[in-house]
Amino acid sequence: MTLVRYQGTETEYGIAVVGRPDFNPVLASSLVVNAYAADGHRRARWDYEEENPLRDARGFTQPSAHEPVPEEDVGLANAILTNGARFYVDHAHPEFSSPEVSNPRDAVVWDKAGERILEVAAERAGRMLPGGPGRVVITKNNTDGKGAAYGMHENYIVDRAVPFGQIVRQITPFFVTRQVMVGAGRLGNEHGLPDVPYQLSQRADFVEVEVGLETTLKRPIVNTRDEPHADPERFRRLHVIVGDANMSEVCTLLKLGSTGLLLSMVEDGFLPDPPAVDAPVSALHEVSHDLTCSRPVLLRDGRRVTPVELQWHYLEHAQRYCKEVAVDEVTKDVLAVWERILVALEDDPMSLDGVVDWVTKYRLLRRYVERDDLSWDHDKLKLVDLQYHDVRRDKGLYNRLAASGRVERVVAESEVRRAVTEPPEDTRAYFRGRCLAKYRDQVAAAGWDSIIFDVGKETLQRVPMMDPGRGGRVQVEELIDRCDSAAPLLEALQG
């Protein structure tokens, strides 16, 4: 059987206009989004009707929020793409929210497609900057190294019947240690520690609490936003904010694949009581600060285990679980990569050069340190740290390594190229993307769980899409192929 889990990534990209440090980042982000989306067509609005980021998974709605939808974000550039993604401005960053996919390998494809879209968009925006042409740099990272953080969030649809507390208990030790396998790496730290010139995770130092609703301050290990963008009776969406944005496709596959497997085991009641970490937030920081990945974490029962051992706990259960329930190739790949990386981390983390982002970047930095006799706070190293994440394929350092075959890839570039314009075929993103491509002038607005059509009648017509798995190619391709405009499509859907 296939282990289907609807999922996706949303990435806030770093943005800078070269040589113009005072350039307003909100304006720059808008220019980037608009440059990509501008083609003379009418633009569909984003439909906010079902959005409520203040609904809490613990069962209440936050009364006075720290995070209202910022006034300045309303009316900003906002595009819905034919691949089913949302491309817009959020918190002074261009954000690419991937379409819903059904498995972690597809998540890699559309996550990478997001990088390609940002690359094209930034290049176009540079040509039309107010005040004359210039260059817009876009980085897929999570911190500027000066105290600011911005997010890459993972989203997983989870069975509503699972008590949220069970997810929290099982996933917290997993998240505390997952970074050894999938951290993006960074120079420096947020704690003023002189002995931490480099660490595993971009995000870890910005995490302050174990569980919480907020995303821009007091960031939690487990985020409680309860906004499923789907039938709330059947689904919840686990909104994960603790992770790094990865350049490495292996890391993205493993990050989403291992987390999805953990959620499946929680849903099926397969896991024993978790190895509870004594002080998860400080443990998260400490794991990130240890390049040997061998410093033990204190458990509540007094035992000390390494981050890799904690990951073995989850992997061994996942291997057993998959013998019982799943045999699809993607899941097998995830298990194989998970095991291979844990073995390598125990033998020598540095052997993961070209596989895991934090190692690949660290090795590069070390070579500079050794060749040029640089101190770890040298600006050239900080530049390498940033430019590793530059989305340009000819200038971004990860991309240079990829072009010369020095990093391991998971998907073919032809798949990524296709995903820039085409939606996944087995989720509702297919319906969204194809409707945008074929009936764009009749789409008044669209959101994750609906499309609103304007076919010239007195009222707009809303098509709800409350199940992420419905609206795929099998269900709607023939219908869309047959309908030359939205009116017969709607008639057929209502008929």
Partner: protein, 61 residues
């Protein structure tokens, strides 16, 4: 953890050497390293100090 189960690594270490900063493998560079750094030097932003100074982001989510 279920009763009797322990958190453990599945595989024995293949070497007693501590990984990371001091491991031998870490000191060994492959033969194309100089080529790699030369290639990267060609694409690095020209003024590292200025680029790094100007790279300031607003906080996000």
């Amino acid at each position: 953890m279920s009763e009797g189960e322990r958190v453990r690594r599945q595989r024995p270490r293949q070497t007693e050497e501590e990984p990371g900063e001091t491991s031998a493998a870490d000191q060994v560079d492959t033969s194309d390293v100089d080529d790699l750094l030369d290639e990267i030097d060609e694409v690095l932003e020209e003024n590292a100090e200025e680029f790094v100074k100007n790279y300031v982001q607003k906080g996000g989510q």
